[in-house]
């Protein structure tokens, strides 16, 4: 590393010399490329990213199903390096068929203390997932979250029931897919 630094210094000095004198010397250009990076993934305990949310049956006749179950086992990790003045955001959508009257919501919580840099901010309220992408984390610049669970943004999933559509509700289980994308914001 030290030798690399020496090399850099030497190159910068060398360029300086080139600029100052245009005779009797010979030079070449050096391009230092810092790559743009946008890598993101979902992490769950034991590498498992499939989750289950179950409505609870009432114990008292006359009451409806309880949809208050939540799941907070998954984490959003990312690494981002942007160009000057640029930022990124993470968006989410859902594909597949939800049970009649049921909505799936997700919210990014407070970011972990791990990682470095500008890791953006979570959208304040839970978003109701739909087929079109919606922002969940915005204003990400150059930063990284750390890798694995307990790093990055915790994701809390919840359900909501449209009580006026209760008659469309059917017993059973349905699996849907939630997709996250890190993409340019500007």
């Amino acid at each position: 590393m030290k030798s690399l630094l020496t090399t850099f210094t030497a190159i910068i000095l060398f360029i300086g010399v080139v600029a100052a004198q245009d005779t009797n010397t010979h030079g070449h250009n050096v391009t230092i490329s810092v790559p743009q990076v946008a890598i993101m993934d979902i992490e769950g305990p034991g590498g498992e990213t499939s989750i289950t949310l179950a409505a609870t049956a009432p114990t008292e006749a006359g009451n409806g199903l309880d949809f208050s179950a939540t799941n907070s086992s998954l984490w959003l990790n990312f690494t981002s390096v942007v160009s000057g003045g640029k930022s990124r955001k993470i968006q989410a959508n859902v594909s597949g068929t939800l049970p009649g009257g049921v909505s799936l919501l997700v919210q990014a919580g407070a970011i972990s203390s791990t990682g470095k840099g500008n890791r953006g901010k979570a959208v304040a309220n839970a978003i109701t997932l739909g087929t079109t992408d919606q922002d969940i984390v915005t204003d990400i610049k150059s930063g990284y979250t750390g890798n694995g669970v307990n790093n990055g943004y915790p994701l809390t999933y919840s359900l909501a029931m449209d009580e006026n559509a209760y008659e469309n509700l059917l017993h059973g289980s349905q699996t849907v897919t939630v997709t996250y994308t890190i993409t340019a914001e500007n």
Binding site: S33, M40, A57, E60, G62, L170, H171, T181
Partner: protein, 183 residues
Amino acid sequence: MKRGILVILLSILFATTARTQSSQSHQVRIVIPKVALIDVESAGSATVVLSLGKPNEAGHGLQAAAQNASGYWINYSSVLASGQPERKVMASLSGTAPEGIKVLLEASSYSGEGKGKNGISSGKKILSGEPTEIISNIGSCYTGNGVNNGHLLTFSLEVDEEKYEAVRHGDFENLRVTYTLTE
């Protein structure tokens, strides 16, 4: 110079591994349990008392009992499976009913704080040891819990004129009505 080339090579290496957009998906399984619950609610726990009226005039028969809005409400919660037929509420009478007397029961139309496809009253039905449908067409729904939710039960008595000779004076207790939520 050699080191300079190394730096350039490293830079190129970094650049080729760069990614500027990334997506990832995961699955969410949503489970809806099957539900079939029924109970009967009342403000108190009073037994329903039904009495036939005496005739006012010699030569007339016993009068049918006035309608007794019992204060009992049927509450239920139901979640159907796909393709499952709608549910209904059946009522049956156990114990020794007085001979020559018909016990009738009518569930009101649904009212309350519930949601979904609540049932439809089957009208006034004569109760017997065999389950009789009193509410039908129950889909995925709930009635709300407690009195003033669901279907109010109204009882009445009638003399079976064909069996008038079998009618005997007395109190007939320990009759029990059982309600079942079924397909």
